[in-house]
């Protein structure tokens, strides 16, 4: 069953005559109840994509469908109503909470904005329920705390609670654990997995850590410089990566034991190009060990290579 059905989408930020093509022609679908991973490094456009899906930024071109409905053409009040169904968890727990609001106000605010607060006791009940959902103490002493009294993990849980209090069907998690310590990360990741099962949450999980994506997600899309280069089930992407960039990523992840052979072929593969200057043809070709003539001239399209496994490469 189709849940989210974004079609070809391009977003271009203007800088004088130059354009930064943050997200440049992305299409994919997310099924109901699925955890969809979007993996990419900085500059891949994944953060922009997160905001485009929710229309926090307007696309320059293209459409986003939510439940078979085109959300890119909705007006402000219709969009506001729709936001109850689609929410976002932010990356930085230290800046995503209003420093002047206590825990209760932060979680209650979405309800107030949508006039779902009811009377004081109803509101309290809803807030407490949501706190329990994210494994935080629903007590008064906790809800009166201000963000600077909370640890990173607690803040992030409050952020998740805020995203869930309206009971959305779909949540975008933008690098939700990248700023947390290792031991705290595990807790939040476990929470997200539990939530997916408990309340059937559909989720787009954005990260630069491919290991995490593997742990949480059913399917993974690998992004590079604004485009998807490979898309498939988590198992296949991790264990049988086809695209040279995906392979590079997999190789670059250090294993948890010393390995002399690790990353031995990575040595001189250049770095991500910065700014508006994109390579012509396939965007990855300057760093690709297998690049051929055609790669320099023509950009490959995302095509289905095996069943449900798509790749944008001339060489496969």
């Amino acid at each position: 069953m189709k849940k989210l059905f974004p079609l070809k989408r391009t977003s271009i930020f203007r800088g004088k005559q130059l354009y930064v093509r943050a997200v440049d022609g992305i299409s994919f679908e997310i099924a109901r109840g699925e955890a969809f991973g979007i993996v990419g490094e900085s500059g891949s456009g994944k953060t922009t994509l997160a905001r485009l899906i929710l229309r926090l930024i307007e696309p320059t071109e293209g459409l986003v469908f939510f439940r078979d409905r085109d959300i890119t053409s909705l007006n402000a009040s219709e969009m506001k109503k729709l936001r109850r169904q689609m929410q976002i968890i932010f990356q930085d727990p230290y800046s995503s909470l209003d420093p002047r609001k206590d825990v209760f106000s932060t979680i209650a605010e979405p309800l107030r904005v949508h006039q779902l607060a009811g009377d004081a006791s109803t509101l309290e009940k809803k807030v407490r329920e949501t706190l329990k959902l994210v494994e935080l103490p629903p007590s008064e002493s906790f809800t009166s705390k201000m963000p600077d009294e909370l640890s990173g993990g607690e803040r992030q849980r409050v952020g998740i609670a805020r995203a869930l209090v309206l009971g959305p069907e779909f949540v975008v998690a933008d690098e939700p654990v990248s700023m947390l310590d290792a031991s705290v990360k595990a807790g939040i990741v476990s929470l997200l997995v539990d939530l997916k099962q408990k309340i059937g949450l559909t989720c787009a999980f954005i990260t630069h850590e491919i290991g995490l994506a593997y742990y949480i997600c059913d399917r993974i899309a690998v992004m590079y410089l604004g485009r998807i280069v490979e898309l498939g089930s988590a198992d296949e992407i991790i264990h049988e990566p086809l695209h040279p960039y995906t392979r590079l990523l997999m190789e670059a992840v250090p294993p948890l034991y010393p390995d002399e052979n690790w990353a031995s072929t990575i040595v001189q593969r250049g770095e991500l190009p910065t700014g508006a200057g994109l390579p012509c043809g396939c965007r990855f070709h300057p760093r690709c060990t297998e690049a051929q003539g055609i790669c320099r001239n023509k950009e490959p399209e995302l095509a289905e290579l095996k069943r449900d496994h798509y790749i944008a490469c001339h060489l496969r």
């Binding site: 490094e41 031991s183 705290v184 990741v189 630069h208 992840v253 250090p254 990353a263 770095e271």
Partner: protein, 319 residues
């Protein structure tokens, strides 16, 4: 004879609330040509250890302990003498290279400045040395004329490494050198550091919160928690047979791509307040195997396996 011996180091920061016992009895050694990784989460004191070694602590001071580098006692010597030692025998690659570089000066200028601040050489000599250093970190020497914003993150980090190597120190401290970098760049920088370590017979203290990074970059690993070292051992041994519950928990929280279906384990609670840390073993409030004695008596570092030390009351087990 180890190159560096740190014994019972205690560094406290003094605030209105009280003394923050950031480093509270840390001991370790580093041999010549060896890389020691210090792992721990934020607030465990690892950066404070680095700053203590460089005598760069602000708002606090080293209250106890000794640091012996190549026979010299670093904490006891007068400031003038230490200024002579700093950068020549021990140097630092700070966190967040992009921010550590002055944006209005060229890379070459900054390396030259670092050199000439410590030795009397002419500008041309210093520039020549800067070019050499850049080549060593695999940056084209002509890039010395670039400004930091013209270099990528990975190159800036390598430029900082070059700066740290300027006077051929015996020991380099790298404080989270790859944290802000992309995974591919990270791999490149790590490999470079390993090559430099081996090629120059350099001793390195590598600080990171990421155990998998340390697995590749260090010969020995020290795990820190709440201002104390809880486990120290050779990298392979420590990762294969972790003795301390915290080390195990840390290892368990990394999703392992290589094996399928392994669940990551979460550690409840958060690191303690260092003004008033828990009694006995500081980890006891979060420890899954806590015993009565753990709440009363602080465990001492004992050698449970050859060259493998743990501070824990629990009997050692096979990891």
């Amino acid at each position: 004879m180890p190159l560096l011996t740190v014994d019972n180091l205690r560094t406290y920061y003094f605030t209105q609330r009280g003394a923050i016992r950031a480093v509270d009895g840390v001991s370790f050694t580093v041999d010549k040509g060896q890389s020691l990784g210090i792992a721990g989460e934020s607030g465990c004191g690892k950066s404070t250890v680095a700053l203590s070694l460089m005598r760069l602590i602000k708002g606090g001071r080293v209250v106890e302990g000794s640091i012996i580098l190549d026979g010299l006692s670093l904490l006891e010597m007068p400031q003038r003498e230490f200024n002579h030692v700093r950068w020549r025998k021990i140097s630092l690659v700070p966190q967040a290279a992009m921010g550590a570089l002055n944006p209005v000066y060229r890379i070459g200028d900054q390396i030259v400045e670092a050199i000439r601040a410590h030795v009397r050489v002419s500008k041309p000599e210093a520039w020549a040395r800067a070019g050499e250093l850049l080549r060593q970190v695999e940056i084209d020497p002509s890039r010395a004329r670039n400004y930091p914003h013209e270099l990528s993150g990975g190159m800036c980090q390598r430029a900082m490494i070059a700066m740290a190597l300027a006077l051929n120190p015996d020991l380099v401290i790298a404080d989270e050198p790859t944290t802000a970098l992309d995974v591919v760049t990270q791999a490149q920088v790590l490999k470079l550091l390993r090559r430099l370590q081996r090629g120059l017979n350099l001793s390195v203290i590598f600080i990171s919160h990421d155990l998998s990074t340390l697995a590749q970059a260090s010969d020995r690993i020290a795990i820190m928690y709440a201002g104390k070292t809880v486990e120290i051992g050779d990298t392979l041994a420590l990762l294969r047979q972790p003795q301390h519950p915290y080390t195990r928990a840390l290892l368990g929280s990394f999703p392992d791509i290589k094996s399928t279906g392994r669940r990551i384990s979460a550690l409840p609670g958060s690191p303690p307040d260092l003004v008033a840390p828990p009694s006995g073993c500081r980890f006891h409030p979060r420890c899954p195997a806590v015993l009565g004695i753990c709440t009363i008596k602080e465990p001492a570092m004992t050698e449970v396996l050859p060259r493998h030390y743990v501070a824990c009351h629990l009997p050692s087990s096979k990891g």
